[in-house]
Amino acid sequence: MSTPVQAQEGRVPGARTQGAPAGRGRGGRLGLRPGRRRLVVQPLAVLAALGLFALWVATGEITGTASALLTPATVVSLTLEHLELTLVAAVVVLLIGIPLGIFLTRPRTRRLAGPVVLVANFGQAAPAIGLVVLLAIWLGAQFSTAVVALVAYGVLPVLAGTITGLQGVDQRLVEAGRGMGMTTGAVLRRVELPLAVPVMLSGVRTALVLLVGTATLAAFINGGGLGELITTGITLDDTLLLASGAALVALLALLVDWAGRVVEEVARPRGL
């Protein structure tokens, strides 16, 4: 029997390690590298900003409609509405984007990826407000119309993330899997998807943040959400109300972005 090999074989430059960050897996999880520090700082900053906002509202500088709308109860219910819009749209986006992305990276259908991404680009490139209004004219002004508009707007990052993630998987690994007798389905499930997860999740996070922002426009077509504050602010020419709505949407987006980053950290497969 041979003696166990210690670490005497030098690490080879260019050896495929899929960019494993040094130190990861060996107590590295607790060390706060720059990306991790953000995970702590970001929610704290958002909470601090919210606190300041609440304080400002409570000190009673505001009057009239604004003070009626900026009660904790109303803000919370508008926020929940906003999140509902976002999440319903996000679920539909995932249900469309991920399977479509997988489909468009299979060997037989790979060449369709270009055209489909192009179409998805239209959805993204069209001005969101125009899309919302046009759809409202077609489908009527309601919650579901807002969801359709949001889906059209949010599908691209998820689709692109899935395609990029899967295309980024080292083809030799796919072949290694096939060469060992894995079925194509097993290769997808056990090799391609886990390796694509980081890129896919970052696409999902981008989509969520986009959706939180765009969901504001739902208020223009009776879709509800924090956009109500903004539309009311515009109608009443109440700059304070308008600014409050905008600030709350921005804080919500930051919070969703943070949640997305946490999920990315947690869901990243070990060894990557």
Binding site: S2, G14, T17, R172, M180, P269, G271
Partner: protein, 418 residues
């Protein structure tokens, strides 16, 4: 469906003589891609004997990798037949087939998101082995490839060096004890020193297991070192020469092979010969510690030696002094250890020559078991020996068939039928 305990599948080729490999026959195998002029692989017929390492070498784009991948049907042949252990692989389910053929690619092809143990256990898992059996097998294999299981089984590939990854890659390919191992440029991504070591390890493992190994390389030296036989391929996987490394080096079939062998064919042949095989070992005067110097000198002069090898009480060479050095030391041979240039009889001629060039005597002491003195080898005798081996004989039994024409295909097909 294979049952849950036995690894024995349709390709199980275990034989009583220690050969666990299975013979592979390619008959008139062609791969052509639509829209391309010539075939990537053109009617290749190749007989690969069980338990041997056969190296496919050739310039890039010659179809060697395509040929390899058709054996496990990662690439489906356009026409022709491939049999492993007499069974037509084209009639088997592709995925089932591949689970019974080890496959090693460059840099190991390990899945970075799976631990070493998970990587190694993939194929047994697909064959529905029990967890405990998979764990035992994994440890056994890590041991076999020289990695301490306790230390490495839970590591991730990103935490291993290139050489270690490659070892795990070999362990993974051997997991379900397949009779056939296919290797595609397995050691291409590691540094030369690690590559040497991995090659030595592979030869050691092969000594133990006697699998049938088909290995693609573009490195002719690697082919010479690892191969029992070498297939030199030209454009369209044309078999230019199929022979033992010694024969390819000594008698390249045509200028193409000659070119491919490169300069220094004779030097490369040196790595094929072991010192012990040479029959060119010479006796020289030996002395034991405590012998009378006058005696030793007289014996040496009588046979014309100018130096004598001093052996210790267990017959191991201690030093190799000139006679006048001995005389200067006194009346009896002293117990003194000096650096004596010696090589083991299993060393390659290449290593022996390397030692000789650094020797004052133009020769080295050759030792056998337990480092016991066996004789000396001088430069001139080594050179003479090389000259005679160059004539070399292919005494490896019946020569396997290879070619790209009807004759080769018929020869193979006829044999398969009998």
């Amino acid at each position: 469906m294979p049952d849950s305990t036995a690894s024995a599948g349709p390709l199980d080729g275990h034989r009583p003589d220690g050969v666990s490999g299975a013979a592979i026959d390619l008959v008139g195998v062609t791969k052509s891609y639509p829209g391309q002029g010539g075939a990537a692989v053109d009617r290749i017929s190749l007989q690969i004997p069980a338990g041997e390492i056969v190296m496919l070498v050739g310039p890039s784009g010659c179809g060697k990798t395509t040929t390899l991948k058709m054996i496990n049907r990662l690439i489906e042949p356009t026409s022709g037949t491939i049999t492993i252990d007499g069974r037509d692989v084209l009639s088997l389910d592709g995925d089932e087939l591949r689970r019974q053929i080890g496959y090693v690619i460059q840099a190991g092809g390990l899945f970075p998101h799976m631990s070493v143990a998970t990587n190694v256990g993939i194929v047994p898992g697909m064959l529905r082995w029990e967890k405990k059996r998979i764990a035992e097998r994994t440890d056994e294999l890590l041991e076999l490839v020289g990695l301490d299981p306790a230390k490495y089984r839970d590591r991730y590939p990103g935490e291993l060096s290139g050489g270690q990854q490659q070892r795990v890659g070999v362990a993974r390919a051997l997991a379900a004890d397949p009779p056939v191992l296919l290797m595609d440029e397995p050691f291409g991504a590691v540094d030369p020193i690690t590559r040497q070591r991995l090659q030595d390890e592979l030869l050691r493992i092969q000594d133990e297991l006697r699998k049938t190994i088909v290995c693609v390389t573009h490195d002719f030296d690697e082919a010479v070192k690892l191969g029992d036989r070498i297939v030199v391929l030209g454009e369209g996987a044309r078999v230019v020469q199929y022979d033992t490394p010694a024969q390819v080096l000594a008698h390249p079939a045509d200028p193409f092979v000659e070119d491919f062998v490169g300069s220094g064919a004779a030097l490369k042949a040196l790595t094929l010969t072991r010192v012990g095989e040479l029959e060119a070992l010479q006796e020289t005067t030996t002395a034991r510690v405590g012998d009378a110097v006058a005696d030793v000198v007289a014996r040496a002069r009588a046979v014309g030696d100018a130096a004598a090898v001093v052996l210790d009480d267990r017959g191991r060479p201690q030093r190799w002094p000139w006679l006048r050095q001995l005389q200067a030391e006194g009346d009896v041979v002293l117990d003194r250890v000096e650096d004596v240039l010696s090589v083991d009889r299993r060393a390659t001629l290449n290593a022996a020559l390397d030692a000789m060039l650094g020797s004052r005597y133009g020769g080295v002491v050759v030792t056998g078991k337990n480092d016991v003195y066996e004789g000396v080898l001088f430069l001139q005798t080594a050179i003479d020996a090389v000259a005679t081996t160059r004539g070399g004989s292919g005494d490896d039994g019946p020569v396997p068939v290879a070619g790209n024409d009807e004759d080769a295909a018929r020869a193979l097909a006829g044999e398969g039928a009998s």
